[in-house]
């Protein structure tokens, strides 16, 4: 099985994620896959969930905080501006308080709380999580490709849906219990109508959004998660550990892509010791990879002669990755 056959044989897998340690080529492979799918007539949105997104860098265009930006026919890319989203969200909350109670200004204590919330360490990730829910629930594209954050953070991001889900279930249950007490009191007082619980409605709205996101992240039919790694010991060990952790969160792991493979013909002839050792090391770890992951390895991506930035380079890599990917 190759990366190409995964895409071709399972077209219903519309949510594509590339995960791995930092700097191994997640953005490169996300952009290359997005390019290949778009050039085959699929409408693709590639978006970043990384606060330090690098889609602007790979496409050599400033797309930060500009919504879905067209890159080429059928391909759009998006980087979420989490700071602006948080500021807009805080303003929305303030405005709601003013509208609901007819205040001239938000009470100081409440305003301070809203302002302080933006300093919470996880606020940025939460805002991006929420922005991604907005992106995916619209369903305008054939493919959604997530350019994920490095492993530890990605796990945090993926687990966020689960944690939020449990949190929201607990407080919704509490709210429902409170509703029962309201009903008991209303019945005893022989009141016919019971005021609607707006908080419960709001909780149901949040729950529905989180569920939509969490279902996608764990849906084997619609989602494919690929690990990107390179033939080096620490990366292989970390990826193995991460794969176990990701499985615990029911993330549907669809295969592994080995990046930065040195071309085998590089070893021919007289070469410096440094290079010979690097090639020997890679070959050793390639065997290790084969025995660990076997047929789950979907592609070997060659180390290119220069970095992958700009559409012409992405196109070159896409040709190698999707048509000559078994070069190793």
């Amino acid at each position: 099985m190759s990366l190409r056959t995964v895409f071709e044989s399972q077209p219903e897998r519309r949510y594509i994620m590339f995960g791995g340690k930092g700097g191994l080529g997640k953005t490169t492979l996300s952009a290359t896959s997005a390019f290949w799918l778009a050039s085959h007539g699929k409408r693709v949105l590639l978006f970043s969930v990384d606060p330090q997104a690098s889609l602007s860098d790979i496409f050599q265009r400033d797309i930060f905080g500009k919504g879905p930006v067209p890159i080429m026919q059928n391909l759009w890319a998006q980087e979420v501006d989490a700071d602006r989203r948080i500021k807009d969200y805080q303003e929305e909350i303030r405005k709601k308080i003013l509208d609901m109670y007819g205040f001239d200004r938000v009470p100081e204590e409440i305003d301070n709380y809203i302002s302080a919330a933006s300093a919470e360490p996880a606020m940025e990730e939460s805002a991006i999580f929420d922005a991604v829910v907005d992106i995916i629930v619209q369903g305008d594209y054939d493919y959604y490709i997530y350019d994920l954050v490095p492993l530890g953070h990605a796990l945090y991001y993926l687990s966020m849906a689960k944690v939020y889900d449990e949190w929201i279930n607990k407080i919704t249950k509490l709210r429902q219990d409170m509703r029962q007490y309201d009903q008991v009191a209303a019945t005893m007082r022989r009141e016919e109508t019971l005021e609607e619980d707006k908080i419960l409605e709001e909780l149901m709205y949040i729950k529905q959004r989180i569920n939509a996101s969490s279902q996608i992240l764990t849906d084997r039919r619609r989602t494919a998660f690929f690990f990107v790694l390179v033939p080096e010991e620490m990366i292989i060990l970390d990826t193995r550990k991460a794969a176990e952790l990701f499985s615990k969160f029911d993330v549907p792991i669809s295969g592994y892509v080995v990046n930065r493979v040195l071309p085998p013909d590089l070893g021919a002839g007289k070469i410096p010791d440094y290079l010979r050792n690097r090639i020997a090391m890679q070959q050793r770890y390639m065997k290790d990879l084969q025995s660990s992951f076997g047929s789950q390895i979907l592609a070997y991506v060659p180390e290119m002669e220069r970095d992958i930035t700009g559409l012409p380079m992405i196109e070159r890599l896409a040709r190698r990755l999707f048509q000559e990917e078994t070069t190793a």
Binding site: K96, E109, I110, Y113
Partner: protein, 91 residues
Amino acid sequence: MADEQKRKKGGIFGVFKDIVYGMSSHEMTRHAVRSRASMEHLFILITMGDLLGIPILPPYYSLRLLPYVTPQIAGWKRRMLRERDITDVLG
């Protein structure tokens, strides 16, 4: 005012109903309302604990609930922070 008019409308029957309610259900209603108020405070604690320095989950989604509990925050904080003694338990 509206309650008064309503009572007058009900006449002797209304008064009788109120007496029966007071004798039979008032205490239970009070208990339900008090339990409901305690749960409301628990709810605010779980969602807005940061206001008292109690760390909660990332407050992103809690903020969505803030407008609905804004009028209760002052009362909630008073209740949470007031000193308690043995009579609270006995009461």
